[in-house]
């Protein structure tokens, strides 16, 4: 499978550059915030969901020489872009800017991270694309940042954490969705928590493994909230990408959500289609990690239950340790999905990618690579 994937020139929809240290961000902060960061000695703003030393956070060989998960630019180019012949890699910088209690500090840091990404990454390799970090605690400031960065077509998505302050369907977040829809940006919901709330609905767990496994239920809460609150009715052109969600919880969730929708839909009359239909039209999922059965041949049956070939987007989830070796695609992924997952679905989801590709050359190249016939 590796050879075929390379041949297609896949679009990697979830790649993590190393989380920038404060010293790297200082040039991108204004003098006030620079003084605050230095004066208070603020650093180490990795998300608590991804402790730098945790085995999940980076494959052993994907630590940099200084131990940093993801290494540096050259390492990422070698290990992702060259290794799989990646056409575009969407950089999702997991930084604590998304989790700040202070709206102003969060906005200042998100702005700095976005500008750092543009200068230190996007400017250095034309295959890089990036998500816009925002501070969801202040939708107004989040929208201002989205609008500021959206003029650069290399920013292709708005990034939110799976667990923030309140359920993501709530109307307080709608300003963000309105801006994303207007600017043709999908909203990426990435695994991880701001830890303003417990990761479980039962309270605080004790261990990293609980935090991580519970992400799958967090995604369910958020997806249900988005559907029930009518986000996709209000914003009919909005796409949400669930990033690092685990994927295979989705069919069982949809069975349950659709069953109960039939009984309770008059409570949420704006949900005028079944959750299954809504998800097929509005929701996409990055592929890694995929919570797969032990026998690879059973994966196809689970994926079949998604009911659409349009939902999955190729991702390596570099440098997170979700899989080993060169098989970036999970064993057992049906062959017929390969070009959809690797190229066609990402291109349909991130419509801004097409902005840098003349339509005619895309068609010719797609035929040459066997992506379309």
């Amino acid at each position: 499978m590796t050879v075929q994937l390379r041949d297609l020139g896949p679009i990697d929809c979830d790649v993590h550059p190393p989380t920038p240290r404060m010293a790297e961000l200082l040039p991108y902060l204004d003098p006030h915030w620079r003084e605050v960061m230095v004066g208070r000695g603020i650093d180490g703003l990795e998300l608590a969901s991804y402790p730098p030393g945790s085995p999940l956070t980076a494959r052993p060989e994907w630590h940099g020489p200084d131990g940093r998960p993801g290494g540096d630019l050259e390492m990422l180019k070698r290990e992702v872009l060259e290794r799989w012949g990646v056409r575009y890699a969407i950089l999702n910088c997991l930084h604590g800017a998304m989790a700040m209690f202070s709206e102003d500090m969060g906005a200042a840091l998100a702005r700095a991270v976005n500008d750092w990404i543009a200068k230190e990454w996007l400017d250095r390799d034309e295959r890089f694309r990036a998500s816009i970090l925002v501070t969801p605690r202040s939708p107004e400031l989040a929208v201002a940042e989205i609008e500021r960065r959206a003029s650069d077509p290399r920013f292709v998505q708005v990034l939110l954490l799976a667990a923030g302050e309140t359920p993501l369907g709530r109307r307080a977040h709608w300003l963000i969705y309105a801006a994303a829809e207007r600017l043709g940006l999908p909203v990426g919901i990435h695994a991880g928590s701001a830890f303003h709330q417990p990761m479980t609905s039962l309270g605080w767990p004790s261990f990293v493994v609980e935090d991580y496994v519970d992400q799958a239920t967090t995604f369910q809460h958020q997806l249900l909230s988005l559907i029930a609150e009518g986000v996709f009715t209000k914003f009919p052109r909005l796409t949400v990408v669930l990033i690092e969600s685990g994927v295979t919880w989705l069919p069982a969730f949809l069975w349950r959500a659709t069953k109960e929708w039939r009984a309770l839909r008059s409570e949420v009359p704006w949900v005028d289609r079944s959750p299954i239909e809504i998800v097929r039209d509005h929701v996409r999922l990055t592929l890694q990690p995929v919570d797969a059965p032990a026998e690879p041949e059973r994966l196809a049956a689970v994926i079949e239950e998604l009911g659409s070939d349009d939902l999955l987007l190729f991702s390596t989830d570099y440098p997170h340790w979700q899989w080993d070796g060169d098989d970036a695609l999970p064993p057992g992924l049906p062959e017929r999905l390969l070009s959809k997952v690797a190229v066609l679905n990402p291109r349909a989801t991130y419509r801004r990618l097409a902005a840098s590709e003349p339509e005619e050359s895309v068609r010719e190249e797609s035929v040459a690579r066997g992506i379309v016939s």
Partner: protein
């Protein structure tokens, strides 16, 4: 097709219903603002007694937070799993094409007409002075 006299009109006022047994089938007869409808008392989902369900209105929406309430009493909510059915058509709201309850033609006939037959009135005598609900199946 046989026409069955199932009730005097006065027995099922607007908003009312009557469950009748006709040719071995349980059928719910509903008065919706003076119009009568008959539905099989068996939910196509899992066989619940649909016609015993709550009569509710139809709430629709074009936008979150907007509740467009209409047709009070014209929908039937199955007592088992809450699926909504349109009393006028038998169609379920969530899956109108594939999930629908069987409906039967209903007519109002004067007793005088019925006296001439043919009809079947198993359970009560027909009088020339009254009007009757007639279900065909």
């Amino acid at each position: 097709m046989v026409r069955h006299v199932v009730a005097p009109v006065a027995e099922i006022p607007p908003g009312g219903r009557k469950i009748v047994s006709v040719a071995g089938r349980q059928i719910g007869v509903f008065n919706v603002g003076g119009e009568f409808f008959a539905l099989l008392n068996r939910c196509p989902h899992q066989g619940g007694s649909l016609c015993l369900g709550e009569r509710i209105g139809l709430v629709l929406s074009d936008e979150p937070g907007v509740y467009r309430y209409s047709r009070p009493g014209e929908m039937l909510r199955c007592p088992w799993h809450g699926w909504e059915f349109d009393i006028r058509t038998g169609q379920s709201w969530c899956d109108p094409k594939r999930t629908r309850v069987r409906t039967y033609p209903v007519a109002i006939e004067a007793g005088e007409t019925l006296m001439k037959g043919p009809y079947q009135a198993e359970t009560f005598p027909v009088s020339v002075e009254a009007d009757y609900v007639v279900v065909e199946l």
